[in-house]
Amino acid sequence: MSELNRRKFLLRAGTGFSAAWVTANWPALLSAATHAHNAAKAATPPKFEFFTPEEAAEVEAITARIVPTDDTPGAREAGVVYFIDHGLVTFGADDQKTYREGLPELSARVSELFPGVIKFSSLTAEQQDAVLHSFDESAPAGRRGFRARPGAQNFFETLRQHTIAGFLIDPEYGGNRDGVGWKLIGREREHVFQSPFGYYDKDYPGWQSAAKEADKT
């Protein structure tokens, strides 16, 4: 089922000519649709729309320090740099300037801290972290921290937010390649779930009023 058909299908599901049919059938149809969609997507070789290949290498190196690769995949495997690149010509166009100005600034900082070196990507991981720490202004962690505020944030904070978004977004929307971000956090990649959901509700006996429970004990 193509993406368009998925949409048409959801449209019907919503307005509900046959709600019972929909409830019974749409989850299976949807997972088929998602699968086909991803197969099609994987066949297309990614190319950059905003970054030069050199810029992309620098950005990717930074994303790989924000969510590093260890015994599990990180930002690099999730293809975060492609998500950011595409984002900068679509939803994040307001942040283009932040990147255009931030990358030369990064290069200058690299040379300042490690004379003779120009490229962030050619530093060791420890050296890279030292550069990033020099950029990172610790912002207080708010409950709803993620709001793109164009121009209001420095390069590193913008890139940090974009990296996390590209690592954890629903894979249907251009990041989190192969769902590696969701695998890491333990989120199953399904569109529909059924109860029981977790450890604590699996043996739940059903609702009983407090009075009844008191009678039993």
Binding site: G14, A19, F91, A139, D170, I185, R187, G198, A210
Partner: protein, 554 residues
């Protein structure tokens, strides 16, 4: 999918023009068109449907696809009237057909008897303009029942010993319990409290041509792809459209109510998508634009006859704003809860709904609920314990370990009506259409902050009783931002201390009605939409009766 609708000319004098299509506007459109009236609904946002709703967090968190836009509609914020306000985001509300009900959490508690008569019961509270409602719980009860059955609420009647009386059970059983709900229920009972299945405006069973909830996990903040969330969009607007008498006109930004020389409203003036200006003529105007935009529209409509704004002879339009106090306590457990599955809230308790001010030393009360309302990205920004690194190896390890072992207890509480707390017109800042921007003035009443901290302490007790491995919260701080926008055109019998009467008619303009969060006299204990919708059903009955008696157009 848009149903075929009538297309009225702007020069057609329809019976009612309704400004806003959210929780209240959608229901008034449904009821008034069902009762035989010709209705035009002007909605500033786009007409989106299930086909447009996605799980794309970027659209929601960064692009404000369903909500007011900070670039087009900037706002300013200050704490007290003697400060100059600074540009800052002051509020979030739904800006699409269906309004905030499209993306809300869907907690649907009724208010209790006390909420309507609290001033009489507790007496005056220093620093606040607490007032009784002109109606009681008993007046509203039939309409709460109507919301449950016609809009669609899942729940368990009689499960909470603190619930007010009801004339009918819920139309559907509660949604399946989540692990957060089970943890909450068991711990609360250990403490002698009375948890119960959360009443939610989400279908637990297929109903009225809509699918039951499929537990997709993208609920708060998102539009429902299967129409299971009981928004005005799916539960009211479509019924209105099927009457053949109601036109929904999206992308229509009403910025003035047109008045004649006799002090009667003649229609609503709006910008269309291309910013051309139109006047939709109507016999009466019903404003349901929310607790911020409704007072703003009255203030923007000032003219020679009403120099301080329409329906503002009292001078209190925009004042007595209430946000609801409270906040979140977060806890982590040993085993996976997988609370990312499903809707947000599955258990609530109301043991602290009415606290005795003599005993606790402050006015107020509230409810606790068990929830997980994060999505993967929002969790990475706001769900990790304090002190967790913001990037790098340890950040990644925390994400891996914590995402499915975390739950929240949300503490909801009263806000006192304080006259200085308000929405007004900023004297300098303009929106993208060149009109004065909203200015928020807000400083929490000290009792609201005391209540917040008192409720947090209860949530910590509950997490202790549940054996949480880790728990944390931040002290209740002064609010500078709101999503519950209440009390700014409040209802009352005295035209000096209220803006509308018990029929939702403004005291000053006979054919101008207001119904939304602005109508509330007190804040309830945190979940206002159920009450806004009950008021809308009741207002529709009152307005219909007035119209049929010829008391509106005379």
């Amino acid at each position: 999918m848009m149903v075929d609708q009538p297309r009225y000319k702007t020069s057609d004098e329809v019976d009612f023009v309704i400004v806003g299509s959210g929780a209240a506007g959608g229901i008034l459109a449904k009821e008034l068109s069902t009762n035989g009236f010709r209705v035009v609904v002007l909605e500033q946002g786009p007409y989106l449907t299930e086909a447009d709703f996605t799980h794309n967090e970027i659209e929601i968190l960064a692009l404000d696809k369903l909500t007011n836009h900070p670039k087009l509609q900037p706002t300013t914020v200050r704490k007290t009237p003697d400060e100059k306000a600074k540009q800052q985001r002051a509020l979030v509300y739904g800006r699409c057909v269906g309004g905030t009900s499209v993306h809300f959490t869907a907690n649907f508690w009724r208010f209790h008897e006390i909420d309507f008569i609290e001033r009489s019961k507790v007496g005056p509270v220093p620093g606040a303009g607490l007032m009784d409602w002109p109606i009681t719980y008993a007046d509203l009860e039939p309409y709460y029942t109507k919301v449950e059955w016609e809009i669609g609420v899942s729940g368990q009647a009689g499960a909470s010993p603190f619930d007010p009386p009801r004339s009918k059970p819920y139309p559907m059983p509660p949604l399946p319990v989540k692990s957060s709900g089970v943890i909450f229920e068991r711990a609360a009972r250990k403490l002698g409290w009375h948890p119960y299945p959360a009443p939610m405006a989400i279908l637990s069973q297929a109903r009225a041509g809509r699918s039951a909830c499929v537990n997709c996990g993208f609920c708060l903040g998102f539009g429902c792809e299967v129409g299971a969330k009981s928004s005005s969009l799916v539960a009211a607007i479509r019924v209105a459209e099927r009457t053949g008498r109601c036109e929904i006109r999206p992308n229509s930004y009403v910025h003035r109510i047109e008045m004649d020389a006799n002090g009667r409203a003649t229609g609503a003036v709006y910008f269309d998508e291309k910013r051309a200006v139109h006047l939709q003529k109507a016999k009466a105007v019903v404003v349901c634009a929310n607790g911020a935009e409704t007072p703003r529209l009255l203030l923007l409509s000032a003219n020679k006859q009403f120099p301080n704004g329409l329906a503002n002879s009292s001078g209190i339009v925009g004042k007595y704003l209430m946000f609801n106090s409270g906040g979140v306590v977060t806890g982590q457990f040993e085993h996976p809860l997988n609370d990312y599955k499903g809707y947000a809230v599955s258990r609530v308790l109301h043991d602290f709904y009415e606290l005795d001010p003599q005993k606790v030393g402050f006015y107020g009360g509230g409810g606790l609920d068990a929830r997980f309302d994060f999505t993967p990205i929002s969790f990475a920004f706001g769900g990790l314990p304090p002190g967790t690194p913001r990037w790098g190896k340890d950040f990644k390890a925390a994400l891996a370990l914590d995402f499915n072992r975390t739950m929240e207890i949300f503490c909801h509480g009263t806000s006192l009506p304080v006259e200085n707390n308000s929405f007004s017109l900023d004297p300098d800042l303009k929106d993208a259409w060149g009109l004065p921007a909203l200015r928020l003035t807000y400083k929490d009443h000290p009792d609201d902050l005391k209540l917040g901290n008192w409720m947090f302490a209860r949530a910590h007790e509950l997490f202790d009783a549940a054996g949480a491995q880790k728990k944390w919260s931040f002290p209740a701080g002064e609010q500078q931002f709101g999503v519950h926008l209440l009390g700014t055109c409040r209802m009352g019998n005295d035209p000096k201390t209220s803006v509308i009467n018990a029929d939702h008619r403004t005291h000053d303009v006979k054919n101008l009605f207001l119904c939304d969060g602005s109508s509330l006299v007190t804040s309830g204990r945190g979940q206002p939409t159920m009450t806004i919708e009950a008021l809308a059903f009741r207002a529709a009955d009152r307005i219909t009766a007035l119209a049929k008696r010829g008391e509106i157009s005379a």
